[in-house]
Structures are given as C-alpha cells and as structure tokens.
C-alpha cells in the first residue's frame, strides 16, 4: 500500500493526470490490492509449511504432552499414569538431577565465555587490518565444523591421557591427567569445545560493530575519552540489541547440545554422569531404554525450561537493551 501511494505522488508530480488516467489507475490499484490478498494463492504456497507445522510440530507437541502422562514403550499401547513420570523425575531420579546439574553448568559457563571471546575478537577485527578476511575465516571455521562427529572424536583424543593437551602442558612442566575420564574435568572439555566455536556470534558482533554510528565516536575522540570508557559507555550500550540476540540464540543452542556429549562419553554420559547433558539423557531414556513416556516428560520440561530462559531474557532485556528508535 505504501509503495502504491508513493508511486502516485511521484506520478502526480511528474505529469498532470487526466480524469480518465485517474480512473484507470484506480481500477488497476484495486486489482492489485485484490491480487495481493491473493484469494487462495497464499494458502497454496504455504501448503507444505502448513502440513509440516501441524503434522511435525503442533501435533507432536500435543502428542508428546499426552505421552508424558503415560507409560509408553513404542511396542505396546500407551498406558495413562497421570503425573507419575514428573513425580519420579523430580523426586526419585538422581540421574535426572545429574543431567540438570551438568546442563546448567554447561550453559552458564560456556555461553558467557563464548560471547566474551566473540566480542573481544570482533573488536580486534573491527579495524582496517591486512588479512582481516583470513582471520575471520580462521576463527569461523571451527564453528562450522563444530557439530561434526569427527570434531568430537578429535576432542576426545586431544584431552585424553596422552593427548595433545597434555603435551602442551608438559612444555610448562605441568603433569597432565586424563581429562576425559575424570568426572571433575570431563564437562569442562565440552565447555572448551563450545567456547572454541565462538565464530558465529563473533561474525554477528562484527556486523553490529560496523553499523555503530561514527559521529558518536568522533565526538568521543575529540573529548579525549579513554578506550575503556569508550567501550563501556558507548560501544557496549549501543551493541546491546546484538548482545541480546546472541545471548538468546546461544542459550537455546547450548541447551540442545548432544553430539559432543554422546561421542566423548561413548554414549554413556560418563564418567559418573558428569557429561550427561540433558539431550543425551533424553535420548537414552527414549531410544536406549524405550521409556518413551518418561522421555516425553523430559522433553516437555526441556521445552518449558528453554521457553522460560527465553522469556526471562526478553523481560530482562527491557532493562539493559537499548534501542535507538
């Protein structure tokens, strides 16, 4: 509609319109408006998406809610057991709490570290440097490969007893250990893997930094503002919408982590459940133990927790995210 209006203004300025032109244009505009409504056309284009939305998202969500109140092993019909799954989960399943512990630790340590590193490197890259494309590529590559089983395998060997990491420590005279098979450190190797993949938020930060208004910095430079003040009083506040975007995305991503936990612990979540990330526990319950009702309850809790984190993020964002318009 707005484009039609501006068209009209332009035309009226360029040539005086005769009444018949005007009628012709009105008719055309009505036709266009009708066409943009499109009758059944938009629904035809959306048909595959509708099937996917209802068949593979909404129905499964509801089915999973129903299954979470049942005993279901896939082979025999589901039996209604009310809240038993949830009850068991919260009161009588130590492994569940192990997985909650591991997952929260993983999310709360890896996300801030990753974002801090991403922002730091993005700031370094945000200037006219020779070879900047090469640096960006080098820093982004691990993020692209990160989800692959091959990388998780490499990680497992790097942090194994006689792996690369201990060779590195040996340079400094530190005697290493088998980081993967120690319950105190195994999760931190996963966290390190997540942090290593800081490329995606880095690229997004970099795009944000490039959009910052230059005049503000010019004024600050004239006033002789120190770099530290410049960062905390100008850059960070102006960048908050992008920080927010990255925080939301990375938290959701971190909650879903599966592959490295599976590969590094050989599917066990060990040692002592220290790498039993929530997704891995859900997979084991559903597809190894065939407790699909229980796994559905786990899935709903995960969904609610992620939704909760996202909602809290959005509410909190009112207090720290600055939009200029």
């Amino acid at each position: 509609m707005t484009t039609a209006k501006t068209d009209e203004v332009v035309k009226e300025q360029s040539a005086p319109s005769t009444p018949s032109d005007q009628r012709e244009r009105d008719r055309m505009r009505r036709r266009l408006a009708r066409r943009r409504g499109g009758g059944w056309w938009p629904y035809a284009f959306l048909a595959p998406w509708f099937v996917g939305l209802f068949g593979l998202t909404i129905y499964p969500m509801l089915a999973s809610l129903y299954l979470s109140f049942t005993n279901f092993d896939l082979l025999t019909p589901a039996q209604w057991i009310g809240l038993d799954n949830y009850d068991k989960m919260f009161t009588d399943d130590p492994v569940f709490w192990d997985s909650v512990h591991a997952t929260l630790l993983y999310v709360l340590v890896s996300v801030p570290l990753k974002l801090a590193l991403a922002l730091g490197v993005a700031m370094l890259l945000n200037r006219d440097l020779r070879g900047i494309g090469l640096y960006r590529a080098a820093f982004y590559l691990p993020s692209l490969l990160g989800g692959a089983v091959a990388i998780a395998i490499v990680w497992r060997q790097v942090f194994g007893g006689d792996g690369l990491f201990n060779d590195f420590l040996a340079w400094f005279g530190i005697k290493g250990q088998d980081w993967i098979s120690s319950p105190d450190t195994a999760l931190y190797t996963l966290i390190l893997l997540a942090v290593w993949q800081f490329g995606t938020p880095m690229v997004i930060f970099l795009a944000g930094l490039k959009q910052l208004p230059k005049d503000v910095y010019e004024a600050a430079a004239i006033d002789g503002v120190t770099p530290v003040t410049r960062f905390f009083k100008i850059t960070l506040p102006l960048l908050t919408p992008i920080v927010f975007f990255n925080v939301v995305l990375q938290i959701i991503d971190a909650f879903k982590t599966f592959t490295p936990a599976f590969v590094i612990s050989n599917g066990s979540g060990g040692p002592l459940n220290s790498t039993m990330l929530y997704s891995l526990y859900l997979y084991k319950k559903g597809f190894t133990d065939l407790q699909m009702g229980y796994a559905s309850a786990l899935a709903w809790v995960l969904f609610l927790v992620i939704a909760g984190f996202t909602a809290v993020n959005f509410i909190a964002s009112r207090y720290w995210v600055h939009y200029d318009d």
């Binding site: 969500m61 692959a148 089983v149 590969v263």
Partner: protein, 293 residues
C-alpha cells in the same frame, strides 16, 4: 609526510588506524588466536598420516614417517566400505537441500508478498518454531515415522525438509524477498502472470543469493546432524558418515587410531570444501541475515 596525512584524517580514522607498534601487537594476538583455533584440525590431519605408535608419543605436527595406508585401511575399515556411508550421506543431504529450497521459498514468498487472514499469527508461529528445540518433538515424530514404517530408511531425514520445518530459512528468504522491488511483480502481473509464474520467473531467479546460502547451510547442517541419523538409521548398510565414524570409536580399544583420524579427516572434507569455496558468502550471509526484524 606523515604529519600531513595525520592532520587530514578525522579523529575517528585516527582512532581506527592504530600506530605501527599497536598494529603489530594486534596482529600478534590475532595470529596467536588463529593458531590455537586451527591447531586441533592440523593435529588431526597430521595424526591421520602417522603410524599408530607415533600418534600419542611424538607430539610434533610433522610425522617422522608417513603412513598413507591409514586412509585405505579406514576406507575399507569398519564393516562396510566408507564409500557406502558417503553415498548414504549424499542421498540424505541432497534430498534435504532440494526439500528446503523448494518448500521454504514457497512459504517465504507467501509471507513476503500476500496479505491474508491471520498472516501475523501464522508468521508469529513460524518464528516461534525457530526457538523450539527439536528434542521436544523427537519422540512423537519418531512414533509417526515408526507407524509409517519409515524407520531405517532415509525418508524421516528428507521428507520433513519438503514440509518447510527449518523456519530459519523461511525467515532468511522472507527478509530477502522483501528487498526485491514489488514493481517487478506488479509489472509481471500487468502482463497477465499469475502468482505462481511470478514466483517461478521473477522471485526465484532474483533470490539466488538466499537460495545459495540455504543450500550451503542445509548441506552442512544435515551432513553433520548426528542425533536424527542416530535415531532413524539402525542398520549398518543405511549408516551415514557420522554414524560410520562412531563405529571406529567402538573399535579403538584395538589399535586403529590412525585409520580413525584418517576417516575423521575425510568426513570433514565436504564441509571444508564448502567452506573454502563459499567462505565469504557464508560469513557475510550469517552476519546480515536475520539481524534486523
């Protein structure tokens, strides 16, 4: 000379163009980070060429003797030949790419170009599914495919992509189509084109950059997607590359580390090649898409 150039620079430019020593400092830091970032990958590559005995005893990157047999042994290695896993992976990824390109572009065209009842609500739902963790719907989806007797086939990995389940790409394409001038559609409409012809002849060719981004990311993400392949593919002859790799893990109680690293290196090759060819587009596509609502 330098005084003149400094004088003609704005304060901002002065800020940005660091002095010589600072420049060197920044480069040093960045090169250091780059080495740390790439070292594990180089270590994998070098280990793939070392004899088993040397992988964990000789820390340097240069093998004292090359052992390319790791590759041939790994290739014929674990039960099936690796070529089977690669073929399977290719079927799945190519199917997924075609599905995503078609279904997501259709949906995106509808959202970007039509007004219809409840459009805002549908669009909101679409964005909502972006945040939905796949684990939340995994089990009912599995029962659906189980009842369709699709388990241990590639269908559960391909068919959903034809139903536009990857909302991320719909969103990306909506943003892109919005930047295509509507006048082009309108001109085609005056010439009597129907909405499908406009989509096919005007929008699709113009949105090639968005389609290429979708293709690359769908390819890489599907190729690397381990969870769904693990759930749906159960017999070795249907295994994809990630599943084939995990077979090595069970075996490495023995001494086939070299072969395992060799196949890990090979498994990363398609992604690496994609990255090297499309590096600029990947990085920029990510930075600009989905940023502003």
């Amino acid at each position: 000379m330098s005084a003149i150039t400094t004088a003609s620079k704005s304060p901002l430019q002065k800020l940005r163009s660091a002095t010589g020593s600072r420049r060197i400092f920044i480069h040093t830091v960045l090169i250091g980070v780059a080495i740390v970032m790439l070292y594990p990958l180089l270590w994998m590559l070098s280990s793939s060429l070392k004899p088993d005995t040397e992988i964990f005893t000789q820390p340097g990157l240069i093998p004292s003797s090359l052992r390319p047999e790791n590759y041939s042994e790994g290739w014929s290695g674990s039960g099936n030949s690796f070529s089977l896993y690669i073929t399977n992976s290719l079927i799945v990824t190519i199917g997924a790419v075609i599905g995503n390109v078609i279904s997501c572009s259709l949906a995106a065209y509808a959202f970007a170009r039509f007004e219809f009842r409840g459009k805002k609500i549908w669009f909101g739902l679409m964005l909502g599914t972006l945040m939905l963790p796949t684990q939340a719907v995994l089990i009912p989806q599995y029962t659906i495919f189980y009842n369709l007797t699709w388990i241990n086939t590639f269908l559960p990995l391909i068919v959903p992509k034809f139903l536009a389940v990857d909302a991320f790409f719909i969103f990306l394409m909506v943003q892109f189509i919005r930047s295509i001038p509507r006048e082009l559609d309108q001109a085609a409409m005056m010439d009597g084109a129907n909405p499908f012809q406009i989509y096919w002849k005007i929008i699709l060719p113009l949105m090639k950059p968005a389609l290429i981004t979708t293709t690359i990311f769908t390819f890489i993400w599907t190729y690397d997607d381990f969870l769904h392949q693990l759930v749906y593919l159960q017999q070795n002859d249907k295994f994809t590359v990630p599943l084939g790799l995990t077979l090595f893990l069970d075996q490495t109680s023995g001494s086939s580390y070299g072969a395992m690293f060799a196949m890990s290196t090979l498994a990363l090759l398609p992604t690496l090649i994609c990255f090297l060819i499309f590096q600029k587009r990947l990085v920029e596509g990510l930075a600009t898409s989905g940023m502003k609502g």
